[in-house]
């Protein structure tokens, strides 16, 4: 019988000594999920505390091979090896966050993971469909939440307050949270822990040093000095279409025994009034025209069972999940008193299971085999509505269809088997395969000219890799991998109609799956003084889904906004291979007296067959048979010098430089995309200085002077320019 928790214990915090550091005492079954033989990097909680990112995707800016684009101030999309959005997978505690409405190009969904609740984020660069299913062409971003501590005896309660402030965007935020734990039962073999909290922030308009200049300014009189996006207030520093509000709430209840662990968790992210910067106002439109995400909510609730069931089922995790993604978009044209409001809700029911075996090894043999296996299944149910309102007369009307066909559904999942074979000579071979399944159903809607879809995709993919450790201590590891991953067309590809950055995009119900074959070689060095990872990769994309410019007569029926748009696009499978290749690396040097140096470098080059022509208004651009892929990040990197003499507490000083070369290689769609200056994005170097002081487990303080030189800069493909010189402050109390 559980013993009632004495109220005195709850009040007399901290009554019990912590088993380990706050927030990291107990790992769930999702620990270390990403395949270690691949190109993986991790952002830890300590990194987050020190760097003070504005969001979860912002936290990835210092990772090798990751380039974070922002279409809006309250949005962020990480490019992994030149791919993003629906071509990467986002996981939260091992549960798939992607759903079938993820659109091509960058999206806002990584932002809906509350950075305050994250223990760490792991990034896998390169295909990962064997384990993570559809979409994992460019990589996987796996966020892991903070776990509650578990005491072995008695009970403990610990509240905490967090405050965050910035100057460049006037953020005022805070969070209140607590952890609670108690041992249950006389033998102390059972215990529970709870971690939960609620927070919020108001983020004001983003300021920087001023507008960026179009690289082609002066070369052609039709090209103005400054890009159309973003627009600025009269002060010349405040970017219009920025700022947002955010509320979060979460709770995580863990019941743990010696070999079992049950987790019931619920995470809620509610973001309000996030203008899409490149559409607020749209290029050349009056300032009263604006597209805003009035509501961007994500509610994720799941029940996970972690267990060790013997040699054949170690690290078993079974999770049942429900996720609701809710979006409410408002397009407003104040000049004509017109407002259009769309609501899209996606309910996703999920089931995932995975486990691995003990090493299978004959006595005396120097060969061992570990098998990992799993299955997953996710069902999306989509509701989509669109209404318009004349704000002066109050007259409101339901429109024939929303962004998606209401009542659409989508299933994606599969089963995989992965093996790791350790051979003599410090050689390890790894191989695995997945049988995937995706099925899309879109109901016919004659009134909106929507064709029905009832199609399935059943790809078989896999990977093969080898590792050799030349020295016994394992200081050097050489790796080579081949991975085949896939992305089945989702509901957005097959049925969505939407205005995108380059123009109006409409559906193609005949799309086929795209596949990415990644060849990569890597070298990892781990010495007491130097850690270094270097990877080179080549990704070949077959059947790649491209935005192809279309003429007005191809527009779907009952979609007058298609013909009226300045450019029209339809997604089509590429007739020839696309490719992305590049190198990326990270080196960390540990010096005496707590001094360390970390540097990253990434370069990617991508191209694809040309399908279609440039949109109207693009001048002086010659097209070849093969053209650059969209928004491939430029050569970029970071350098971070850190002095942290104390290991767990005390002062931690750092100076970081983020830099990127210019990117002038643009895709056809990029040329008409207001997010990209004409014609390319200038390079930049931004210096940040940080101080983090941890007094003890109860009190810490972080401050960061960002963009010390007040540089004007933009991450390629973004609508916003990076924050100007400013201060970020963070305080954790209790």
């Amino acid at each position: 019988m559980p013993r009632p928790l004495p109220a005195a214990l709850l009040l007399a915090w901290p009554a019990v000594a912590w088993a380990q550091e706050y927030g990291t005492s107990v790992r769930g079954g999702s620990d270390g999920e990403l395949p270690e033989e691949r190109a993986v990097s991790t952002v830890t909680r300590a990194d987050l505390d020190r760097r003070l990112p504005r969001s979860a995707p912002d936290a990835l800016r210092w990772e090798p091979g990751v380039y974070v684009q922002q279409t809006a101030h309250g949005q962020g999309s990480a490019y992994l090896r030149g791919l993003t959005g629906q071509q990467t997978v986002l996981l939260f505690d091992g549960i798939r966050v992607n759903n079938s409405t993820y659109r091509q190009g960058p999206n806002q969904y990584a932002f809906t993971i509350d950075a305050q609740t994250i223990d760490r984020i792991e990034v896998l660069r390169g295909g990962g469909s064997t384990r993570y299913g559809s979409d994992a062409l460019g990589g996987v971003i796996a966020a892991y939440p903070i776990e509650p501590f578990l005491v072995k005896q008695g009970a403990a309660f610990r509240p905490r307050l967090l405050g965050a402030f910035t100057t460049a965007d006037s953020e005022r935020g805070g969070r209140a949270e607590f952890m609670l734990s108690a041992a249950l039962g006389r033998s102390a073999s059972l215990g529970f822990g709870f971690y939960g909290g609620a927070g919020g922030r108001e983020v004001g308009p983003l300021q920087n040093a001023g507008p960026l200049q179009n690289p082609a300014y002066g070369e052609h009189p039709s090209i103005p000095r400054y890009p159309d996006v973003p627009r600025y207030a009269r002060d010349g520093r405040t970017q219009l279409g920025t700022g947002f509000g955010e509320i979060t709430a979460d709770g995580r209840l863990v019941l743990a025994g010696p070999s079992h662990r049950l987790t019931l968790a619920s995470y809620h992210y509610l973001q309000r009034d996030v203008p899409r910067t490149d559409q607020c106002p749209p290029p050349t439109a009056p300032v009263g025209e604006c597209l805003t995400y009035e509501e961007q909510f994500r509610h994720l609730t799941y029940l996970a069972w972690d267990a060790d069931l013997g040699p054949a089922a170690r690290g078993l995790r079974v999770a049942l999940s429900h996720q609701r993604q809710h979006e409410r978009l408002r397009y407003e044209n104040q000049g004509s008193f017109f407002l259009r409001r769309g609501e899209d809700d996606v309910d996703t029911l999920g089931l995932m299971m995975r486990a691995h075996t003990d090493p299978l090894q004959q006595k005396g043999a120097r060969i061992s085999l570990v098998l990992s296996y799993g299955l997953d299944l996710y069902l999306d149910l989509v509701r989509s509505r669109l209404r318009r309102l004349f704000t002066d007369t109050g007259e409101e009307r339901e429109l024939p269809r929303g962004q998606y066909a209401d009542g659409s559904s989508y299933v994606t999942g599969g089963a995989y088997l992965d093996g790791e074979l350790r051979l003599p000579g410090r050689v390890t071979l790894r191989a695995g395969g997945r049988y995937g399944l995706s099925w899309a159903r879109v109901p016919a809607q004659p009134e909106s000219g929507t064709a029905p879809v009832d199609r399935g995709f059943a790809p078989v993919v896999g990977h093969l890799g080898a590792e050799w450790r030349p020295d016994r201590r394992g200081w050097l590891r050489l790796r080579a991998n081949v991975d085949v991953s896939y992305r089945a067309p989702n509901l957005n590809d097959l049925s969505a109609r939407l205005q995108t950055g380059p123009g109006f995009q409409f559906e193609n119900a005949g799309l086929d799956a795209e596949r990415a074959t990644t060849f990569e070689v890597g070298a990892l060095l781990r010495t007491p003084f130097v850690h270094a990872d270097v990877w080179a990769f080549e990704t070949l994309i077959s059947g790649g889904v491209l935005k192809v410019s279309q003429l007005a007569p191809t527009c779907p029926q009952q979609t007058p906004q298609c013909a009226s748009s300045w450019a029209r696009f339809q997604l089509q499978n590429a007739p020839a291979l696309g490719e992305v290749r590049g190198v990326e690396g990270v080196v960390r040097v540990f010096l005496p007296a707590g001094l360390s140096l970390r540097a990253t470098l990434a370069y990617a080059w991508g191209e694809e067959p040309r399908v279609g022509e440039v949109a109207e208004g693009v001048v002086g651009v010659l097209l070849h048979e093969r053209v650059p892929r969209s928004r491939i990040p430029p050569l970029n990197g970071t350098v971070e010098v850190r002095w942290a003499p104390g290991r767990a507490r005390g002062l931690d000083l750092s100076a970081g430089l983020r830099w990127a070369d210019a990117q002038y290689r643009l895709a056809i769609a990029d040329l008409s995309d207001g997010r990209i200056p004409r014609y390319g994005t200038p390079g930049f170097a931004v210096l940040d200085l940080g101080v983090y002081y941890r007094v003890d487990a109860r009190l810490s303080f972080g401050a960061r002077l960002e963009n010390v030189t007040d540089a004007i800069y933009r991450y390629h493909g973004s609508s916003i320019n990076g924050p100007g010189r400013g201060l970020l402050l963070n305080l954790k109390l209790l």
């Binding site: 009189p221 050349t284 300032v287 017109f338 004349f390 007058p560 009226s564 748009s565």
Partner: protein
Amino acid sequence: MIKAHLPLRALLGGAALFAACDNKPMVMNEDMNTGGGADMAGMTLMCAPFPAPLASCACSVDDYAPRYEMSIHDTWAKCVSDSGEYKLQGAGRPAAAARTEAWDMMAAKLWADMDRASPTAQDFSDARDLYNIDQGIASRVARRQDVHYPELPVMEGKKFACTDAGLPAMYPDRCAGPAHLQPIINDAFQKGAAQTEPRVQAARIEAALLWFFYLSTLSEMWTSSFEKIEDIDAMWGYYNAAQQRGGIAGIARYINPLSPEAHQRAFDGILAGRCWRDLDPRLPLQNTVLYQRALNQLDKAEIYGLGRVLRDRLGKLGAATGEVQRAHLAFINILGRMMDRAARAADAARADVLKAQVSATDPAQVNVQAAQGAIDALFPCP
């Protein structure tokens, strides 16, 4: 062939411009002509004679005349428009054509048939939806400029500053869309939804959009000169939904029934614009003379045609009563306001006469004959 003597022709063209202003038939001396052409008392015409009742009109030496033996007698070099067909500059049908089609659909809802019952609130709602199609008419009204007025004193190459807050109020004539048209249209939709004299509101929307589409043909030619060459297709799209000469939609739907020759001349102007972009294909334009000639030709034909529309509506004023009459007057008030600039450029005194009549607020106060006489005198030829 005459096409071989362009420098001489251009020289003549400058002098002939003044002659054309007097609306005297422009002829060429026979010995200058090496090609075929209609002979008139020893002189060779550069374009086909105007049909009655415009027989006294003549084309200018600057005009492009594709209808007359495929342009071989005019002063324009051989170009893509000589066949008399509009050939797209860009890859596809311009988005402007979709806006013109939406306008025609609005017409069917609100004002095309004055004999039927007054438009209902639902009709206004439907028409307003058409007006507010994403990237549709409303989005362009909000940024439309009148190229007859000086450009805004903009900086760093920003040509579209009419979308900046506050500037339309400072430069209302140049920023005609947001400053003049948008308030009229919004107010009319509001009152139409409330069923406050719905015919009147429909007429106000009609006239304001006629003003908008006229401005749009010219502003697209302007933006084609520096922003997008393909905007020349948008000029065509705004005129008659990007149809060939026989296609009667958009502005052509107004002009052609009242003056088929004005429509023909306007379409010649459309083709002149396309011809200019064919002969001067660079951005920015290199040949400002040719651009100005095309712009003037189209503008003159449209203004004449819209003058006929105004004249026609004035004529209907007396025959109508009640709300229909007030609707005609509302239309006259707005279109008359639009015509004032062109009228004043032609003859300030007559412009005053016209303005006094077309700005009347009471139908009984309008001297129709005086107004029509002023229009005839101000705009005698397309």
